[in-house]
Symmetry: C2
Subunit: 263 residues, 2 copies
């Protein structure tokens, strides 16, 4: 290839020079077949990136403004001053004396339609000012209440499962999506069957799809797993669904191969 650079200015470059140009972004020379964008598109893309970054800054500031301090912050870090809380949540499955977690009715009602119904319908919780939450640890309850105020939680796998259960029970969609995303990111073959059963039980669609896909990719190893045998015992319908998904995947793959061959 010959051609040469900036022909309107210079005509005296060597052949080697003429095949390369310099990337505006990384400053490295590249050949024609490695070409990306023209200058105009590059500049447009840079502007877009700047705009997106500005939008992110604005949104982060908005989150920081809207983020509520939690009454738990107040307790633990001694922000000082009263919290004006008007309700407490109690983890009723606690061994030993249950520590009540203070909260605001207005926040609970705003974040969860279940709390809304509970508190507005003059049920026992509304009269007593205490909401009992069953089958949950104090730590999980604290993290749950904290999330309702701050949209933040420090997750490990156990906590993500506990919070997903609470989020499902009290219909806090944002928290459920947050936990599900975390659990999907932690999916490996070793926890795929347990995750699949858990996702089924708590109606977690993304986690269900991701774990099912992982399982059907490893069908040769499936029947040897202890969790598999337990699931056959405990909930055989879930096992049937695995096989159905596997079958449907096989049919699709076959159809795809078939059409590839015909082409």
């Amino acid at each position: 290839m010959r051609g040469h650079g900036q022909p309107e200015i210079s005509g005296s470059e060597s052949e080697e020079e003429s095949e390369t140009m310099r990337c505006i972004s990384c400053k490295v020379e590249y050949g024609r077949h490695e070409a990306g964008t023209c200058k105009e598109c590059y500049e447009e893309a840079s502007e877009t990136e700047e705009e997106l970054k500005r939008e992110i800054e604005d949104l982060k500031a908005k989150v920081a403004f809207l983020r509520f301090w939690s009454p738990l912050d107040q307790l633990s870090r001694s922000h000082g001053g009263p919290c004006y809380t008007d309700v407490v949540l109690v983890a009723s499955s606690q061994d030993g004396p249950a520590v009540p977690v203070p909260a605001h009715k207005a926040i609970l009602v705003s974040r969860s339609p279940v709390f809304k119904a509970m508190l507005e319908n003059e049920m026992e919780e509304s009269r007593s000012g205490a909401i009992k939450i069953s089958d949950i640890s104090y730590e999980a309850l604290r993290a749950f209440v904290n999330y309702l105020y701050t949209a933040e939680a420090c997750l490990d796998e156990q906590m993500a499962c506990d919070l997903l259960e609470l989020a499902e029970k009290y219909q806090v969609k944002h928290l459920k999506a947050y936990c599900e995303k975390f659990l999907v990111s932690k999916l490996i073959w070793d926890n795929s069957i347990i995750s699949y059963a858990f996702a089924h039980q708590h109606n977690a669609k993304h986690l269900l799809d991701a774990s099912l896909s992982l399982i059907t990719d490893n069908m040769d190893k499936l029947t040897k797993r202890e969790e598999y045998m337990e699931l056959v015992e405990k909930d055989p319908r879930l096992v049937v669904e695995i096989y159905e998904a596997y079958l449907s995947k096989q049919v699709n793959t076959a159809a795809h191969k078939d059409s590839s061959i015909k082409q």
Copy 2:
């Protein structure tokens, strides 16, 4: 320009052809001097853009979750159910009977250090459960309270000024920045002197800088303005600051020119 096809396959192009390549993004052919990025940087930039967009989606969902319904929504749109409000704000300058705006102490305290001090220090407001806000219209007060819950406001120039005043008085930084940004976007020569004086009065740095810059760019027209003469009467120190800024700009420009000539 004509050009076509991947040169690493073909070696038979004319010189003209070899000078062009196709932009991956807009698909238009361009010459070497219009080159933007290499392919790798293009792909990296596309990924970055996708990531930024995902982050924006996440942040928007977080804002939607943290956004609180305002007790005013509740009143006007009849969401139904109690609001658990425990304080009212009253625009005390109202002619006629003042309509109280209901709110939650917990929200006010969370958003404004001034409300925090007021309510926590057992001042009159804390005992009576009513906070009087002077020199403000009912509409501005409503918008102010609404912003504390939602981080949203529908602004025109008057409302932006009213809310900036309230934001300054009650130290709601996020709202102040929001109003200031709006007012800067509305700056024109006609309102620059008034904006400058307003920014000075309410300690609005960005608006001050922007209006001062606009004024010093139009010094030839300045002294003919009615607002100028009023400002000389009312607050001559502010006029002095205009001249000082103008002088400093001139000195800088001269220094810049000087160094250009020397080079």
